[in-house]
C-alpha cells in the first residue's frame, strides 16, 4: 500500500458511512476504504443496541482516520437521516482538510472496483458533484402517489409506524387545500440518497446562513434524504452530474433491491464503483470484492444496463405478471387478468357439422392444433383422440366441468405459442360463453343453425328430433346473444347456414388468414361439404310440426340449395 502510485491523491476522498445493522460487514467495508487511504466518518443509528455499537467502535479503534459522529435516530422517510448526514459531513470536512470529495455510503454498500480507481476518477473531475437531482415533474419514481406533495404538505407522522395517521393527515391537508410555502423560492429536486459532493458544494450547503430556514422546512418534508441535498446542491454547485455513483435499484414499493452471491458476475460486469444493497450474508460478494484481486483495470464508465434490465423485469413480473397465468401467487380478480388467456385460439361452431372432414382439413390448412369438441358432454375430444394433452390435462369431462375456466386457461397456457382450434356447439358445456366472447385472444366463427345437419342425418324418430332441435336452437340463440353483446371483445363472425353455403370459400379464407400460421396463400382445396339433399324439406317438416328453425336462414323449401348438389367437390384453384 506504500508504493508511489498508491500515494496519488491520498486522502482526497472521504467516506461518510451511515450504518445501522450488520456492523461486522460495516467494519469490513470501513477497513477497506481506510486501507485505500480514504478517511471514514461513521454514523451509527441510535436505535442500534449500545453494546453492539461499543463493540463496533472498539473493533475499529486501531485505525486512526476513522471517526464516529453523534448518533441520531434514523427512521426511514424522516429527517433523522439528513441530520445524521449533516453531522457526519461536518465532522469529515473539519477533521480531514485534504478531503476534496465526500462520498455518502451505507453499511451495506460494497465497492466493486478498486478504491484507487474511484479516487482517480474523482481526481480527474475535481469540480464535479455527482448527485442525482431532478424536479418532481420530470420523474415517475415516486411510490404511493406522493410526488410534488412531498414538498407542499406536512408529514409529522411516521409512515412505517402510524400509517393510518399518516394517510389521514395527508387526506385532511388535501381536503383543506393546505400548502406549505417553499422557502426562498428554491426549486425542490429529488434523487438517490447516495451522492458524492465536492468540499465546496457540501460546505456551502452546511454553512449557508439560511440553513436554519431550510432545515426547518425539510424537517417536515416527506423522505427528505432524497431531496435535501438534491435541492440545495442546485443552489451552489458549478457542475452537477445528475447521477449517482452508487448502483442502487429500487423495487415498486421503493425498497432497494438486494444483491446476493449469484449476482457476482453481473456486478463484476457493471463497472460501477459502489453497489447497494448487499445482503449481509453474501460471503462470496464480500470475499471477491474486498479481498480478491481484480486483475486488469478497465477504467470504463459505469454500465449497469444489464442489472437495470433484470430488476425492471422483476418489477414487471410483480406488477403485471404473465398474461393468462393462474397460479397460487397470481389469481387476478375479474377484469385484472391482463389477458384472460395466454395465447390465441379459434372456436368453430357448426363447421364440423357442415363439412365432413373439417378438422383434418383445418389442421392441414393452418398447421394449428385442431381439437374436436373440447366441451362435449361425454369426454374432452382432444386432437388426435389423445386422452391426455400438454401439461397433463386429461380428457375427463367431470374434471373439465368442475372448473371449465381453469380447463381453458390451462390449455392455452400449456400450449402457449401454438394456436389452438376447437369445435363448439349447442350440445357442449355453455358455461364459458361470456368468458370466451370477452376474450380478445379468441376468434369465434359461427355457422348458425348447422346443428340441424346431424339431426337431419340421424336415424331417429321425428318427435325426438323435433324436441332436440327446439332445445339446440334455444341454446344457440342464447349463445348468439352473448356474442352480439357489447361486452364482447373476441373476433366474432356469424353466418347463417344459408349464407355460408352460398360461397363458403371466402369466409374460410378470411378465418385461415387470421390464424396465419403458414405463409399467406390461397386455399387450394375446400373441405368436403356434406350432402344436403332434402335438407330444405327436413326444415319444412320441423316447421310443419310447429317448431320453427330460424337460425339457419332461408332455405328453399322444395328445391335443394343451388350449386351445391350437382358438383359437391369443385376444386378451388385460384392463383
Amino acid at each position: 500500500m506504500n508504493g508511489p502510485e498508491h500515494q496519488r491523491h491520498w486522502g482526497t476522498v472521504g467516506i461518510v458511512m451511515l450504518v445501522h445493522t450488520a456492523l461486522d460487514r460495516a467494519e469490513q467495508v470501513a477497513r477497506h476504504w481506510h486501507a485505500a487511504g480514504c478517511p471514514v466518518v461513521i454514523h451509527c443509528d441510535r436505535t442500534t443496541p449500545t453494546a453492539d455499537y461499543r463493540a463496533f467502535r472498539k473493533a475499529l479503534s486501531d485505525l486512526p482516520d476513522i471517526q464516529f459522529a453523534t448518533r441520531h435516530r434514523c427512521e426511514w422517510g424522516t429527517w433523522g437521516i439528513v441530520a445524521a448526514t449533516q453531522e457526519a459531513s461536518e465532522l469529515m470536512l473539519a477533521q480531514f482538510p485534504n478531503v476534496r470529495h465526500v462520498y455518502l455510503a451505507s453499511g451495506s454498500c460494497l465497492p466493486l472496483r478498486p478504491v484507487q480507481e474511484l479516487i482517480d476518477y474523482l481526481a480527474d473531475r475535481p469540480r464535479t458533484d455527482f448527485i442525482e437531482s431532478a424536479t418532481t415533474s420530470d420523474v415517475p419514481w415516486t411510490v404511493g402517489g406522493l410526488d410534488e406533495e412531498r414538498f407542499t404538505l406536512r408529514f409529522p407522522f411516521s409512515w412505517r409506524k402510524n400509517r393510518k395517521l399518516f394517510d389521514r393527515y395527508v387526506a385532511i391537508q388535501r381536503a383543506v387545500r393546505f400548502r406549505r410555502r417553499v422557502p426562498n423560492g428554491i426549486v425542490p429536486h429529488m434523487g438517490s440518497q447516495w451522492w458524492c459532493l465536492t468540499r465546496q458544494t457540501l460546505s456551502a450547503i452546511l454553512q449557508d446562513p439560511e440553513r436554519a430556514t431550510y432545515d426547518r422546512y425539510f424537517r417536515r418534508v416527506w423522505i427528505p434524504d432524497e431531496s435535501y441535498f438534491q435541492t440545495l446542491a442546485r443552489q451552489y454547485s458549478t457542475k452537477i452530474e445528475s447521477r449517482s455513483l452508487t448502483l442502487s435499484k429500487f423495487d415498486f414499493q421503493g425498497k432497494p433491491h438486494i444483491f446476493y452471491d449469484d449476482h457476482l458476475q453481473l456486478l463484476r460486469r457493471s463497472d460501477c464503483f459502489v453497489a447497494r444493497k448487499i445482503w449481509a450474508h453474501a460471503e462470496l460478494l464480500y470475499e471477491s470484492f474486498l479481498e480478491g484481486k481484480h486483475g486488469a483495470l478497465k477504467r470504463t464508465e459505469p454500465n449497469p444496463g444489464k442489472i437495470d434490465r433484470i430488476f425492471a423485469k422483476a418489477v414487471e413480473r410483480r406488477t403485471r405478471g404473465r398474461p393468462g397465468l393462474y397460479m397460487h401467487s397470481r389469481f387476478p380478480n375479474e377484469g385484472w387478468e391482463n389477458g384472460t388467456t395466454s395465447s390465441k385460439y379459434s372456436v368453430f361452431q357448426g363447421f364440423s357439422d357442415l363439412f365432413e372432414d373439417f378438422e383434418d382439413w383445418l389442421a392441414k390448412a393452418t398447421g394449428a392444433q385442431v381439437h374436436g369438441h373440447l366441451f362435449a358432454p361425454e369426454r374432452v375430444e382432444f386432437a388426435g383422440g389423445q386422452s391426455v394433452i400438454n401439461g397433463a390435462l386429461c380428457d375427463s369431462a367431470e374434471i373439465r366441468d368442475y372448473n371449465p375456466k381453469a380447463f381453458l386457461t390451462s390449455l392455452t397456457w400449456n400450449t402457449r405459442g401454438e394456436w389452438q382450434c376447437f369445435q363448439f356447439g349447442p350440445k357442449d358445456n355453455q358455461e364459458l360463453n361470456w368468458i370466451v366472447a370477452g376474450d380478445p385472444n379468441a376468434q369465434i366463427s359461427v355457422i348458425s343453425g348447422a346443428w340441424a345437419v346431424p339431426l337431419f342425418k340421424s336415424n331417429r324418430n321425428f318427435a325426438e328430433i323435433r324436441k332436440d332441435a327446439a332445445e339446440l336452437q334455444k341454446i344457440e340463440n342464447e349463445h348468439l346473444n352473448v356474442l352480439r353483446a357489447p361486452q364482447s371483445k373476441a373476433r366474432i363472425r356469424i353466418w347463417t347456414m344459408a349464407d355460408f353455403i352460398e360461397s363458403p370459400m371466402e369466409p374460410l379464407q378470411t378465418i385461415i388468414d387470421e390464424i396465419g400460421h403458414k405463409t399467406l396463400r390461397r386455399l387450394t382445396e375446400a373441405p368436403k361439404m356434406t350432402d344436403l339433399t332434402g335438407f330444405g324439406q327436413f326444415l319444412q317438416n320441423l316447421k310443419n310440426q310447429g317448431m320453427h328453425p330460424h337460425l339457419m336462414g332461408d332455405f328453399p323449401v322444395v328445391h335443394d340449395p343451388v350449386g351445391i348438389q350437382p358438383k359437391p367437390r369443385k376444386p378451388y384453384l385460384v392463383q
Binding site: 415498486f252 413480473r317 406488477t319 367431470e398
Partner: protein, 336 residues
Amino acid sequence: MGALQSYRLRLQRRRWRIRAFRKRRELRAISDRTSEIKRDDILLFSTQRNEKIRLPFFLKYYREMGVNHFLIVDNNSDDGSLEYLMKQPDVSVWYTRKSYKRARFGVDWLNWLQWQHGHGHWCVVVDPDEFLIYPFCDSRPIRALTDWLDASSIKSFSAMLLDMYPKGRIDAQPYREGQNPMEITSWFDSGNYMIEKNRKFGNLWIQGGPRARMFFREKPEAAPALNKIPLVKWDRRYAYVSSTHMLLPRGLNLVYDEWGGEKASGVLLHTKFLDTFTAKATEELERKQHYAASQEYKAYAEILARNPDLWCKWSEKYINWRQLEILGLMSKGNWA
C-alpha cells in the same frame, strides 16, 4: 368483509388456540433442545409416524437449506425413528400415542409447539415427504428469502404442493434410506390445476395434478387440496386452521396477487409416491386417521391394486426451480 364476519373468525381463531392449548397434554417432550434456539433461528415443525427411512434425507435437505432447529412430534412410531431423532443435535422431539385425527391431523399439536417456540421466528411447517423449493434455492439459503420477506413486510409465503411420481409402477424402484427421493419420483404434472377462492378465509383452494387425474376422474371435487402456506413469520396469536392450507388471521392467506401481478412463491415437492406408499396406504386405511374418513386413501387403495402408472406422455421431469418458474408453478415475484 363485515365486522361480524371478522369477529366470527376471531372467535374461531381463539377456539383453535384453546384446542391447541388443551392438546398440549398429549405431547411428552422426549428430547427438548429448544433452549438452544437463538433469536433469529429458522425453525421447522413436523409430525411424523414411522418415517425412519425418509428422515435422514429430510433433515439433510433442510439443514443444507439453512433451517437451524427442528421441532418434531412423533406419533407413536415403532420403526426406530423416535430413537433416531433423539440422537440428532438440532432436533427436539415430542412423543404422543394419541389420535392423529383427533388432533386435527396434527395441526393442534403443531399449533401448540409453534405457540410455545415459534413466536418471532420464521417457521417452516412440512411433512417428511415434502421438500420446499423457493426462487434461487440453488444459490441462496432460506435466510436470504426470509430476510427479503422481512424487508418487504411479507409475513407468509405460499408453496403449492406438487405431487411427484416415478415413471412406471410405483413399487418398481425401491427407496434407500438417505437417498434423494426426487431421483425416483422425478416427474410431475405441469398444467392441470384448478383454483378457486375461499371467500371465508381468503385463501386459494387448488386441486388437480396426478391425483385428480388418476384417482378422482369421476369426482374431482373430492381431490385433495394442494394450496399450502408452509413458511410463516410466526406470532403466538396465529393458528393454522386446516393442515397448512390456511391460517388465521386471514390476512396471512393473501399470498397471491389479485391485480394481475405475481407474488413471490415456491413449491413443495411432494414425494409421497415412493415404493413405501402402497404399504403406507394400506396401513392408513386400517388406522382411519386421515382426512374425510380417509376417502383419499380408499381411492388410492382401489386404484393401486391395479398398479397404475401415474406417468404419462406429457409428464414433466423435474430439473430445477427455474423450470418450475417457467412452467408457471411458482414465481420470483419481484425478488431478483
